[in-house]
Symmetry: D2
Subunit: 281 residues, 4 copies
Amino acid sequence: MELWYTEKHTDTVDFSIKVKKHIYSEESPFQTIDFFESEEFGTFFTLDGLMMVNEKDEFVYHDMITHVAMATNPSIKRVLVIGGGDGGTVRELTRYKHLEKIDMVEIDEMVVRACEKYLPITACKLHDPRVSLYFEDGLAFIHGKVNEYDLILVDSTDPIGPGEGLFSEAFYKDCYTALADNGILINQHESPYYPNYAREMKRSHSKIEKIFPISKVYQFHMPTYPSGHWLFGFASKTLDPIADFDPKAWEAFGLETKYYNTELHTGCFALPTFVKKLLKE
Amino acid sequence: MELWYTEKHTDTVDFSIKVKKHIYSEESPFQTIDFFESEEFGTFFTLDGLMMVNEKDEFVYHDMITHVAMATNPSIKRVLVIGGGDGGTVRELTRYKHLEKIDMVEIDEMVVRACEKYLPITACKLHDPRVSLYFEDGLAFIHGKVNEYDLILVDSTDPIGPGEGLFSEAFYKDCYTALADNGILINQHESPYYPNYAREMKRSHSKIEKIFPISKVYQFHMPTYPSGHWLFGFASKTLDPIADFDPKAWEAFGLETKYYNTELHTGCFALPTFVKKLLKE
Amino acid sequence: MELWYTEKHTDTVDFSIKVKKHIYSEESPFQTIDFFESEEFGTFFTLDGLMMVNEKDEFVYHDMITHVAMATNPSIKRVLVIGGGDGGTVRELTRYKHLEKIDMVEIDEMVVRACEKYLPITACKLHDPRVSLYFEDGLAFIHGKVNEYDLILVDSTDPIGPGEGLFSEAFYKDCYTALADNGILINQHESPYYPNYAREMKRSHSKIEKIFPISKVYQFHMPTYPSGHWLFGFASKTLDPIADFDPKAWEAFGLETKYYNTELHTGCFALPTFVKKLLKE
Amino acid sequence: MELWYTEKHTDTVDFSIKVKKHIYSEESPFQTIDFFESEEFGTFFTLDGLMMVNEKDEFVYHDMITHVAMATNPSIKRVLVIGGGDGGTVRELTRYKHLEKIDMVEIDEMVVRACEKYLPITACKLHDPRVSLYFEDGLAFIHGKVNEYDLILVDSTDPIGPGEGLFSEAFYKDCYTALADNGILINQHESPYYPNYAREMKRSHSKIEKIFPISKVYQFHMPTYPSGHWLFGFASKTLDPIADFDPKAWEAFGLETKYYNTELHTGCFALPTFVKKLLKE
């Protein structure tokens, strides 16, 4: 049977995946959630029709959202994940035995429940005793918090729909306040290639730059996201991801990773010239 | 009108581009050549139905095939391009005023003629006085040549069809012999993500490693190639692309580039762990 | 979300339906069964990836398989349906109050159960007291039966997979024997337009012609089947669908129908010249 | 190479044809004209992205627009074709040796010239001495003409774009006046299946009914038009297509036809019940 999921990367560019089975489809109060089985990517799920996570390349995203910050500051103890309903970011965090507290604030409980059922590969560590799940609006959750976290990971959808506020200046300011003095903010930073994504990348970056003394961007290869060229933002009050990076400290954790490594840690901050220009505009 | 070009990245993954006009379609003695106009990528052309070059992201490929080697050894004088019928690699080479000789061996003259007509953005420097065009089989051309080039750029199609021999051990040996003592070989090295491409990546790498004392691989973001994660191989007799790299020497050339820069030079060799593993298999 | 079901009408012709939800997907011992919800066609289901029945145009098929024969001989009492797991043919038959016995032999019980759940529009009359369901091979069921039915309706899939035997000469002979002297056989007769279907149409017709004294073909517009031009075969021992047709007798039943009517009864046997030629080949 | 032309039959139903070559693409003052080569349908062309004519099933359309009227009144001498730029309707008309005058009024000369070049199968008889070509607006051309034609064939596009006026009441009135007392008007009458087409079918029919004493609709199988179920309108002042039909008179012309025949002549007016209902609404 020919059943194809298509994501329109632009109005004139389609990315299509042959689907074996459409295993879940529900409207939550926030978005439409669909799960599929495919040959190439295993199980994958979409929110409002956009690819979020699949079994084949989720490791790229979850390595890169987590380990760059954890390696920059191996003393991080208290982490807040905003979004990340699939659980993959929490899974990577729980591998660090020294972490004391992992709060995850996901607005849409239905995403978490569906991932627990259909994507245990990512949702497998949500019951770690250090993890607290909050099914709330991340913006409200963080507002008013002071010096509570060493690391905030914004694992959000695109800035349309429920993820929109997570790209606002007010939110970034609240993150700043909620972070300790050596705190780090990592945020989903969109992509430089297709114009719609590049615009959001620039908007997000210009807002964060105003608030955080250190604001950098790093890249990775995410084949199932539009263009495959994806970015995270690294913002902090004091720590520089390269100058303050001690590869040996991270290697001492003894973690095996499929994408991240300490060479790549530095390499991923080396951006193409056109991306650097866009970020300066 | 809805007219869509589709490249099957795998049997179950399609990448589709809405086409405004199909402006050229011919069978050469070697392959089927098609040119299209599109909104997102401007003019693009395919060989045997696979995306080769488009106006939007050709700069990525041509920066990365050329400048990494030129920056590793700024004294390169004699260059051989094998394949590269679109002319983009030669265009980048001609920007180096100190180059003395650029030989380009392309088996399919029809590709060059069509690119001159429809893709002047890449085919614009083929009449530079230092450029000699040979419409011949690259394998035969290089066979028997000794110490004639400082740099060989293998700008080939995938190892199916006319490009096949350019992935053979015999060919790599001939390249070795044709290179000077500090010679460098750059070759199109496929991609680590989809299995068919990863297999060719591994085969190519294992052959080159046997022949060249230094054999490395570097990556870049090429959104219109399958997975967007693409590689070149860097092989040489003596020069190491990082240890022997002098950013200032390259910067002294004063070239403006849209993708390549001297930070990225080092960064692009930092490969994800899964790619490093595949290359060692 | 963009999720599209595609049926390849030929290797180079696709018919695609945007799907809202893929509500069922199972492998039965005989075939793959999938149910979908769509905007244009409502719920539809496929067997081995081919469109069988949808809420929008099922009435065409079920009117035409049933009423042409019932109107030709209003005295029919005993009917056998072979295939027809969706129940639509039985539904139309049960509207005739004077029918005494409706046997339905469907090889794949899972089709019936799924239709009862997801397509009550067709599967709503399977519990009529005159209906007996047999989940058996239609070929075996009919073999050896003599003069047991006034009408046999072969509501089969294409002659690939489980439907294959229902296009064989041995089967048509068994139908002949199982029918009363004024018995009628209606069979799914494929389509004249695309070569693969036209070949099966001709094969089926030439076999039936050898066995039944009267063998005709009638056409209808079935938009969701390949080409939209579909046929049933009308074969009988003595009755001619036009010469023996009494419109008033059928109209006396007082049935409302959306496709069939007594004018169309005659009109549908008027075939285009190219179809007549193909059937004579 | 995978290049597919898609016509959206509705927003959620696509019909796609694999294209070998896109051989022509121009903007005329009236519409966008594209020609393609395909395996299944040979050469085909589209106006504003909608399938008009292809080598495989043009015979259906051109048989049905021409022969039903010519057989109803074998004394027709003067014919006006409005639209029909591909020439297929004129080709069928020229087969009647007794016709004296065939005027064809096509607003878009570029369509005719392109068909002469790429679709000689339909455009082959435009130089018949009885044919006069007028590249004008059909509405203006016919306005004011009195009793000049025995038959008017409106071979138009859909009522969007240049074809719009050809579905207006004023135009139908002008046709009435331009026709002789036993004159016949045949018009492209859209389709009953998909709602957008059914709406136009009803609008057209209700307008014609007001003007012509006799107004009927006949159907045919046109696989490459949306749903494959297509209609022509038959309107006349005095002649009834069935009551006044003399099969022998038409057969005396000795024409071989692939779709039309004298049985089908009557049969094609037998419409499904749902179509009859729609036409009465």
